[in-house]
Amino acid sequence: MALHHITLTVNGEFEQVDVPSQMTLLQMLRDKLALTGTKNGCNAGECGACTVMVDGEAVNSCMVLAVECQGANVVTVEGLAKDGVLDPVQQAIINHGGVQCGFCTPGMLISARALLNRNPEPSEDDIRAALVGNLCRCTGYVRIIEAVQEAAKRQKALN
């Protein structure tokens, strides 16, 4: 079992980690870097609870090997708020009551943030499409979709 030494940026921090080949990015974040905000819901790329951004793109971290992240820039839910100020998607999901059990929330927020980065004015269908890989069993999604709509507006007002 070969160990690979990798360096990468996670939430703006420089990190060095020794990882075995088969370790996923999800495992590395949770078990090596103690960033447990990213959740393991299925480990098969189906539920989206483990979604993080790698080089700006939302991705299932259970479907990425840690070793593939050499030099990558990773953002997890813990990296969304800046200096204690919530990201507009975080604030909006609170405002709209889009959080219940909270287990899908980290992945949902990352998918939403990645969407607004690539498409600051998404249509309702754009939002549905961006979040279709994030399963939620509590909310019924409506409040989450509304929250992303609000976040887009708020972001536009800020810029």
Binding site: S21, M23, G45, E57, S111, V132, G133, N134
Partner: protein, 297 residues
Amino acid sequence: MTINAHPELPDFDYVRPATLMEASQFLAQHAGEARPLCGGTDIFVRMRDGLWHDRYLVDVKKLDGTANLACDAAGLTIGAGVSMNRVIAEAAVRQNYPLLAEACCSVASHQLRTRATIVGNLCNASPAGDTIGACLVLGGRLRVHGTDGFREIPLEGFFTGPGKNTLRPGDIVTAIHFAPLPAHSAGTYIKLGRNTWSDLSIVGLTAFGYPDETAASGYRFKIAMASVAPTPLLAHKAQDFLAENPPNLQSFDQAARLASAACSPIDDVRSSARYRKLMVYQLTKKALQQTWEKLTR
């Protein structure tokens, strides 16, 4: 699927060769225990399920040209390491090969498409592969690198069974290439899943058409069907029928019947064979009609 799917990926070695030749040789030397890695979205699932036991995954994503996406006068070339999201985001693809972008959009979820690749989808050879139909009807050709160098093979004939293809040990599909499309062509992908979006297809239907003076009807149509046979399938009889008969609702209906007759679906957890056959008929009609609308717009 076993009750005791592995909680995590089983032990293997991640290998990143420096050159394509090195990669091909490594894969050939370790035939049966090494596999090229593109996005991994199928490989990881199968390894976790305990279905695949490879000792080595050989990352081919950043090897010579595999990360390239080129769309120019010579056609479209999509490297093995190019994610579906990159394909979708490429304006030239959306402009010139909209069918391909449409097919990519239908695959799973956004975050999975960040990893998933068209070449991976092809090599995986699932009868349900969403992008395979588009690649077939657009006449895709695979660039393959083996231990004796490059060769090019047409996609048609590449699939030999569920999960099976004609690749040999040491082969790496580095890219898929499409020639420039015939003028005024149009295509449609209709996917029927259980959910509105994101599901695997119960039936996936791709139609593609273009004016062609050599055809009696003045048009050629291609029809590809997913999830209704052991391999992705072209509906040849339906295609031939449409080359001979003028495009209209009646001939689309007849072509749809021929397509339905040509497929050999099974009952599985997603659908019955009976429903699949009926849906091939319905969706073929619809896909041809929609394609025709685009052609005559």
